[in-house]
Symmetry: C2
Subunit: 224 residues, 2 copies
């Protein structure tokens, strides 16, 4: 019986939500841009109903804002909002690390090693988007190693927001090689399963990212 894999029955709403999300995090849809229901529905070849439901999903995910009688808009991020997001991420990931130190299986650690390798691999080779993606994947694995499913959900939400914000500024780090290297202290602490060291490494690592992103956003705001 198990020869067959499940037939995908992803409904329209999910598909549409995914596509819009993708368009936002890749910067195809820019913050503040209006999402016209009719226009979107024509592009997807559906009616407006599934589009609206998808938009509602994204709304409560924070990717899209909704103004009654005016419609849906791609969310804009202010510098202080980005700071909040990164600051929350620090708390979240430190807690994940605290839990992971005790709960991570050897397989988890191995997966992280492999992912770190991938970070080095993409350095210089791949596009910025790919590097950012692999970076987030590494940190997601730490959350995963915490064994807390609810925590991962929050991380994923934050990651989506961060990606959506980051596309605005184009680049965060100029040296991909260096970016990969800054993960070493984290990996070291994990190998040793040293909770305090891991927390400190994570705190520093994310704080650096936070400062870089926030600074770029502040510049952006001043520019406008």
């Amino acid at each position: 019986m198990s020869v067959f894999s499940e037939v995908s029955t992803t409904d329209l709403v999910t598909q549409i939500a995914r596509q819009i999300t993708e368009a936002i995090v890749t910067g195809h849809l820019k913050p503040g841009e209006r999402l016209t229901e009719l226009q979107l529905s024509r592009q997807f070849g559906t009616s407006r109903a599934p589009v609206r439901e998808a938009a509602r999903l994204l709304e409560s995910q924070g990717l899209v804002t909704f103004s009654p009688r005016r419609g849906f808009f791609v969310r804009t991020f202010s510098a202080s909002e980005m700071r909040d997001i990164y600051e929350l991420r620090i708390g979240l990931e430190l807690h994940a690390g605290y839990l992971a130190v005790e709960r991570a299986t050897d397989a988890d650690i191995a997966a992280l090693e492999k992912q770190l390798g991938r970070l080095y691999g993409t350095a210089g080779q791949a596009s910025i988007e790919t590097q950012i993606f692999e970076d987030f994947a590494f940190h997601r694995m730490i959350c995963k190693a915490s064994g807390n499913a609810r925590l991962i959900r929050v991380y994923d939400e934050l990651a989506t927001e961060m990606r959506a914000g980051i596309t605005l500024i184009g680049k965060i780090y100029d040296d991909p090689q260096r970016m990969a290297e800054t993960h070493e202290p984290i990996m070291d602490a994990l190998r040793k399963r040293d909770g305090d060291e891991l927390r400190e490494a994570l705190r520093y690592h994310i704080a650096v990212a936070r400062d870089a992103v926030v600074a770029l956003f502040e510049e952006l705001e001043k520019g406008v």
Copy 2:
């Protein structure tokens, strides 16, 4: 011009979502229960469209699950899911406390004192639901004092889930007076603005709640 207050333009979807949420956290709608679109729409006196949109909102908020072609159901909570939620809450609130120690204004502290008073006031007097509500309000204020809006959003989501879960088991603490008192160490640390002490007080306080809730849930699962 400022003589007039804004006319409330809350759209149907928001209203419906609020009502369903309320019904879930008060236990009027029980976990696993099916949400029939037609039935709900008749109760609200609307068509199915706004009901579906509201349900989507609640879905991504984790209060409702959706199964394609089968519909929406009130989410069920397992003991391990509740543990995850409380565990995440620990991380979240400790981080909030860490930030609050530095950022809390005197007004914030005063508001917390007042809320603690309200906790004592409702002890024995008010319904369990009210006490739980006031308890959550206290902890929400700590998050608020962190000054991080994104953090509060996550807390609110968790609080909703906790409330939805808690209605299942009826009661968590038998002694409301004692419940109020266990907040004193938290308040003390806040008054002194002692970060470490606050974190320790919060960690202990929430861990106790977590253990109580999880134990009751495990019993519930065994019973079934």
